[in-house]
């Protein structure tokens, strides 16, 4: 769980952060079911995990749709200067 967060903090471009968020999301789904198993009330946590899976998917879609219009990522002179 910590490694994708590291990628979220350090990631040179916005899209690395998106990848980190997506990885964290899929790991939280599994963690939710684990917590459900611990509390012996799995059927409640299964619904929460399902809702979280949907939310994670829609959030990543919306974020990637929003960030694709960003032209200032790399200036075209070939110098790799990530502006974000």
């Amino acid at each position: 769980m910590l490694l994708p967060t590291y990628r979220c903090l350090i990631g040179p471009t916005v899209f690395d952060r998106l990848v980190g968020v997506n990885a964290i999301g899929s790991k939280t789904i599994v963690m939710l079911i684990l917590i459900g198993l611990i509390y012996k009330r799995v059927d409640m946590f299964v619904d929460i995990a399902l809702a979280y899976a949907m939310l994670n998917f829609i959030a990543v879609l919306a974020a990637s749709r929003y960030f694709q219009k960003q032209k200032g990522l790399y200036d075209k002179t070939g110098k790799r200067t990530p502006l974000i």
């Binding site: 490694l3 899929s26 599994v30």
Partner: protein, 106 residues
Amino acid sequence: MMVTIMILLIFGLIFFAGGAIGIIRFPDFYSRLHPAGKLDTGGLVITMSAFALYTIQPFDLEAIITSIKIILIVVFVFITSPTAIHSIVDAGIRAGLEPWEKQEDK
């Protein structure tokens, strides 16, 4: 039954660990997508099937419904996770992110 659950969980752990390390170690954004997309989805599928096997054990109706719901989550993530990764790649290419080439001078 318990042995299969343990084996599945160990495999799921390996997949997740590989995915997490792959996200950090890979040089470029595009190459970082491979572990993030594949390994996380694969790890999730294996771990969830282990949970489904575990919850189905008492074999009463309520446990069967819960494990079916877990399988539903697996199917849902199986469909949505690649599409999410695809939309990230689409956004990356549209924003003008060049893939990384191996610099010979290094």
